[in-house]
Amino acid sequence: MEVDDAGEGTLQKRVVDTLSKLPELARDDEVLIHAGRYASLDFIVTIGTQVCFVTVEQGRVVKVDSNPQKMRSSAFTLAAEPEDWDRFWQPAPEPGWHDLFAMNKRGHATIDGNLLPFMQNLQYFKDVMALPRQIWVKK
């Protein structure tokens, strides 16, 4: 599976399109699904100005909604610029972009909201957000 990209659109759009493939990237990963079996919630990923809702049900990523209704509730938010998600998804990311906490500490990403479910399932959410490394193509 590769991200369809003919050189059209912005980096932001490419990142959003790639994020939207999380359900299929996670679908057959039984270890990941088991790790997140107690996680059922919506969380937000922002890519620059674009807001995406990611829905998780018992460890399965069931939906990524890049056109959400306003004032929709979520558990927590992971936010970074498109350039930072690009660097995060490289197969061998540079120091500082290799991990969500590294990005957070270095000021490349923010992690906000109700962090209890995030921290209760920390490795699971780190692994979910790293799934696009399997298909991300550096432009």
Binding site: A92, P95, F101, M119, Q120, L122, K126
Partner: protein, 285 residues
């Protein structure tokens, strides 16, 4: 896998340090200059097993790695259940010196990683003539806690899982999966609140930037090795530390993170061997 017994010998030391009785587990291998290895916060001496089984190292060094009390196979002191564990700077210095004295080690080299890398600076400041050399791995004279550490010890978050998940991103993406997972396993086995308690002195006594300029490397050589993927103690932190200590030798290690000796032993070896050879040569001269 071919069956084989490793040359590591594990024993228990009963001793009194600063008025407290301890039963400390240690492992050792080799002969020569004592090389005492200090594990990271929230882990134990198993992190050093590749150093203990490296015949090129054990040919010249008696490598000794001990579990701090509350870690690995070293029990907490009597009455631990009635106190909140908070490692203090002086307590940590006393523990290391007390261990070395009880073991009757003469002018050992001490190599520590993370909090162990930090405390070697304190050892050199407090007891410059006691050690043949100090090696700080992931070593900084200034550590400011940057996240809420209460997550590491609360009843609604699994302690082992959260400690491992926090440190998982401190390793380099190039490190072998098997070694990364072994490093995380140690964290998953850590006792409740121990990782958080180990980090306490970072917050309370973490800034010794003004003191380190007194570090006398003519009395005690200092080597600093820091992996580039460590976002907790960054190479920039270590370089700034080395810049404040005349004669300190700092090396930035590529494709390594916060746990060089266990996350990628082969890669760490490339950087450690020249240091150990330098120490050995200096001692011979």
């Amino acid at each position: 896998m071919k069956a084989g017994i490793e040359p590591i010998l594990g024993r228990y030391l009963n001793c009194k340090i600063a008025g407290t009785d301890y039963r400390i587990y240690f492992e050792e291998a080799g002969e020569g200059t004592p090389l005492v290895c200090l594990h990271t916060a929230g882990s134990d001496a198993r992190q050093w097993r590749h150093i203990l089984t490296d015949s090129e190292i054990t040919r010249n060094y008696r490598v000794i790695a001990f579990d701090m009390p509350r870690h690995g196979k070293s029990n907490p002191p009597v009455g631990f259940e009635r106190e909140q564990y908070r490692l203090g700077r002086q307590e940590y210095i006393d523990l290391i010196c007390g261990f070395c004295d009880a073991m009757e080690l003469e002018k050992p080299v001490v190599m520590g990683c993370s909090i162990g890398g930090r405390i070697v600076l304190d050892l050199g400041l407090a007891h410059p003539s006691k050690f043949a050399a100090l090696i700080g791995v992931q070593c900084s004279d200034h550590h400011k806690p940057w996240y809420d550490s209460t997550w590491m010890h609360r009843p609604d978050v699994h302690g082992g899982e959260i400690c491992a998940a926090i440190v998982s991103g401190m390793m380099a993406p190039q490190s072998p999966t098997v070694s990364v997972q072994e490093t995380l396993w140690y964290y998953k086995q850590s006792g409740p609140g121990v990782f958080k308690g180990d980090l306490y002195f970072y917050g309370a006594e973490g800034d010794i930037r003004e003191e380190v300029s007194r570090f006398d490397t003519t009395q005690c050589p200092l080597y600093i090795l820091t992996g580039e993927y460590d976002y907790s103690c960054t190479p920039e932190n270590s370089e700034a530390t080395a810049g404040r200590i005349a004669g300190a030798k700092m090396t930035r290690m590529k494709e390594l993170g916060h746990f060089p000796m266990s996350e990628n032993p082969a890669q760490f070896r490339k950087y450690l061997m020249p240091v150990l050879q330098d120490v050995h040569q200096t001692k011979a001269n």
